[in-house]
């Protein structure tokens, strides 16, 4: 999609202005119903005109020249409002570009707008946005997934060529699967987190949501790399050329991850997953059953590590330096009232939970134990990657659910991420790729499958992803 578009630009079959017009028209037509965008920028045409001038002048187009992007509302764009879909950041304007945004900009990308999300990326349905839920383009009575639901819906409904999202426990892959898009969570530390509004810093990664695997690859190659502004970022020499994968492991635990009878694998999704396995077998890949025994504990460990980091990261939102401020009789009162009015229910819940697991006397029982379990999960992946080149799992246990269906029960919403969370804990890269759809109540709902690769082996994901996509 990106390559073809740039070819057309270069041959002047289409102008950047026409591209922007097309996507803004789509937004005007579809977004009143879908609510994928929080804001559509008014300067996309200005950038487009500059690009058209350069092309007219005979300049060689850059890697993303003229490509219209949607950016999740927790990734900063200098001079634009940015709010992580939270009331507490109402009126906040970013004073710098996130490194990933700067890299896109330097390659000629055009930013159409910022997309809706679960507040501070906490949620799996985009219902936790302070600005109303986003709807799934395949069936607007259903959620698009989350937390990058706006970005996934924008790409799936052709309201952008590609989007950036962020993934802490599945927030790129799950909405990509629900909406029928490709979603990549890169290896932890390959993409700079500078300018990403932090949720849980040891898990957060920025990644692309796209229409094709090739597009995800192109964008990943643009945004990756060491950055002085993120001390955890690494310069990675990614393996070049064909790394032809031969064996794919299917972890047996993924089929027994039912929690209290709540989240067993949906039968139709299981059928699609078996189809994907058969397809890959026919393409000459060997499929092996493997075991990740500790993943049974992944979600429980995640719900200690993540809220602990959340409670620390979100202490900066206190109404003092930016965003909304509520008045109070003293400084404590200003903090407490600002954070009461500014944060939504789920954000408050996770901050309090994080405060609890970190309180004195509880470190060993919770945080330390969770970090040890996290080590065991990482080891499980390490062990199996000695036997297989990649892992394959369903991305989600079921297709998109109805808006409101899980809103009143936080635990059932948390279980949404049961297939994606272990990957963030281990830090490995994974990609969700659309694989057909299942019919529910007369609607065809997209299904995704997830490939997982060893650390820094994104190229394997792209390679096998393209094979699966060819179906």
């Amino acid at each position: 999609m990106i390559k073809e578009t740039i070819e057309k630009l270069e041959k002047r079959k289409i102008s950047a202005r026409e591209l922007v017009t097309h996507y803004l028209d789509q937004i005007k037509k579809k977004d009143p119903e879908l609510n994928a965008y929080r804001e559509v920028f008014d300067d996309a045409f200005l950038t487009a005109e500059e690009i058209d001038k350069k092309i007219k002048h005979g300049d060689t187009p850059r890697v993303l020249e003229g490509i219209p992007f949607a950016i999740k509302d927790n990734i900063l764009i200098k001079g634009k409002m940015s709010g992580a879909s939270s009331k507490i950041l109402e009126g906040y304007t970013a004073s710098y570009d996130a490194t990933a945004v700067k890299k896109l900009r330097d390659e000629g990308a055009i930013f159409l707008g910022r997309t809706n999300m679960d507040e501070f990326a906490m949620g799996s349905s985009t219902e936790n946005s302070a600005y109303g839920p986003t709807k799934n383009p395949a069936d607007p009575t259903r959620v698009p997934g989350g937390s990058s639901g706006g970005s996934a819906a924008a790409v799936a409904a052709d309201m952008a060529v590609a989007a950036l999202g962020s993934d802490t426990g599945g927030s790129i892959r799950q909405p990509a699967a629900f909406c029928g898009a490709v979603g990549l969570k890169p290896t932890y530390s390959t993409v700079s987190r500078s300018g990403l509004i932090a949720m849980a810093s040891s898990l957060d990664q920025i990644g692309p949501i796209t229409k094709t695997v090739e597009d995800a690859e192109i964008i990943f190659n643009v945004i990756k790399g060491k950055d002085e502004l993120d001390a955890t970022s690494l310069e990675v020499e990614l393996p070049r050329g064909s790394s032809t994968s031969k064996t794919i492991g299917v972890p047996r635990e993924y089929f027994s991850l039912a929690e209290g009878g709540k989240e067993g694998l949906d039968e139709d999704v299981a059928k699609k997953f078996r189809e994907a396995i058969d397809f890959l077998k026919n393409k000459g890949l060997e499929i092996k059953e493997v075991s990740l025994p500790s993943v049974h504990y992944a979600l429980a460990a995640y719900y200690i590590v993540m809220p602990a980091e959340v409670s620390a990261n979100l202490s900066r939102f206190d109404g003092v330096r930016y965003g909304a401020r509520e008045d109070g009789k003293n400084l404590f009162d200003v903090y407490a009232k600002t954070r009461e009015r500014g944060f939504g229910e789920e954000v408050r819940r996770r901050i309090i939970l994080g405060t609890y697991v970190l309180s004195a006397g509880y470190y060993d029982a919770y945080y330390s134990r969770a970090q040890k379990v996290r080590y065991m999960i990482r080891k499980d992946f390490e062990n199996e990657f000695k036997n297989v080149d990649l892992l394959l799992t369903p991305t989600t246990p079921h297709p998109a659910f109805k808006i409101g269906e899980k809103a009143s029960d936080p635990l059932s919403m948390y279980l949404e991420d049961i297939y994606t969370v272990p990957i963030n804990l281990a830090g490995v890269p994974a990609i969700s790729i659309p694989f057909g759809s299942v019919e529910k109540e007369g609607k065809n709902l997209p299904v995704g499958v997830q490939f997982v690769a060893p650390w820094f082996e994104e190229s394997r994901l792209f390679e096998v992803g393209k094979i699966l996509e060819s179906k």
Partner: protein, 112 residues
């Protein structure tokens, strides 16, 4: 200091984790979030559920397992202690309240 006096929340060894309303009040104070009575009640229930789920970690044998502190091989990074601040005009524009270019906040100490 009233805030720190109650930081220790009594420990429980039972599987069923039940938080009391007082626990929630203390946590909210530590987290600097004001809660209404009905929110306290709801949180009490929600957190007890979540903590009940997390209890399954107690089944894992973690003897001789180290804590994982980094997802990838990381080394400490140092840089020279130089001012690298960026454009601060936009930063200052974000101040909810300012006086003569300075950020203005409520006093920490109150007059008798």
């Amino acid at each position: 200091m009233k805030i720190w006096k109650n930081i220790f929340i009594r420990s429980r060894l039972v599987q069923e984790i039940m938080l009391s309303k007082d626990d929630i009040k203390k946590l909210a104070e530590l987290a600097r979030i004001h809660l209404t009575a009905s929110e306290e009640e709801k949180l009490e229930k929600d957190l007890s559920n979540i903590l009940g789920y997390i209890e399954k970690l107690k089944d894992v044998d973690i003897s001789n397992v180290p804590e994982m502190t980094h997802a990838t091989e990381e080394k400490n990074v140092f840089r020279a202690d130089e001012d690298v601040s960026r454009d601060d005009i936009l930063l200052r524009e974000q101040f909810p309240e300012s006086e003569r270019g300075y950020l203005k906040v409520k006093g920490v100490f109150e007059r008798e």
